[in-house]
Symmetry: C3
Subunit: 137 residues, 3 copies
């Protein structure tokens, strides 16, 4: 049995936005008690990730690190048609991934106490992002 | 059809511990022949990963690299309430992920000959880690 | 309900090869309308990833970055029995992952317009790679 829905979210440019509530709502609406909730973003320049949901600074520091992992305006980069943040956005999506899967029990996400689900926008400017949620069980 | 169980494992601080046997046992116990085994850790400061299971040094070198990817005691870091290894642990979990999914056939994990499943603890001190295994098929 | 198949692909050494068509074909053959397509490579020295499918340079730059993330012939590396690219290949597979999961709707992969599925070979020399595709729905 599988249940699927899609939704859109407008990012605010680089940074994270929590979507745990949206995904919890989808999980409950699925009517599936036990299984896995697969969350997928249909883009290659942003990520979905699990991160601590308590101290907001835990989602600021990854920006600092990511600028080292894939520097903006890297002179060695060839893919820069859309600007200095173009290739770094793709490289970050390769590193952090574009989907997360969370177990489902009794119709609720089996997240740890400090886990939240986040859209991590890698482009400098706001973007409209399409997310597909599939519940299998 | 889905089958789910949870177990705990006490890490020994930074480093890897193989959990392939535990996951194989869960897969067999599920009674599901064909599907996917989803393994999820309910924390944001450790990882689950697939890694070579032959030469132990292949699981030592990633520690060396990870100290470059996210240095302990980084002066640029803001999230350090729990010590010099606090933010690096979260950053490593973003990079290496907190879940793995392995195909299941005839009730057995379809791992390659050299693939093992590992808990990778990113905190310096030992921690109690909660793992959720969901088999869908 | 689950459906599974395996196929082999010979890589050409370091670099990417698109396998979107192969995975689309498997999805259609499964007869499953709605669910998740799980693609898994049975090795720890290559990756499966989603990446932009338009400008080929977007798949060249990650090679440049990956040589920084995990340098070949790193003097700090201990796992180098198979050469200077041995440990870097494992490190890259930890970073970029060895599986991707894509939602399925009406028997078709729900990829974004610019998303393709790629085998990313991390070893310098060509390798025979085994891929397992499992569709659950």
């Amino acid at each position: 049995m599988a249940w699927q829905t899609t939704f859109e979210i407008r990012s605010r440019g680089r940074g994270t936005q929590e979507i745990t509530q949206e995904i919890s709502g989808v999980a409950a609406a699925s009517g599936i008690a036990c299984g896995v909730v697969h969350v997928f973003v249909q883009h290659t320049s942003c990520s979905l990730m699990l991160c601590e949901n308590a101290d907001p600074s835990v989602r600021v520091d990854p920006e600092t690190l990511a600028r080292r992992w894939a520097p903006d305006g890297d002179p060695a980069s060839r893919h820069n048609n859309e600007g200095d943040d173009d290739m770094p956005a793709h490289a970050r999506s390769i590193l952090a991934g574009t989907s997360v899967s969370v177990p489902l029990a009794n119709g609720r996400l089996l997240l740890g106490t400090w886990q939240g689900i986040y859209l991590w926008e890698h482009r400098a400017d706001p973007q409209l992002r399409h997310i597909v949620v599939t519940v299998t069980g």
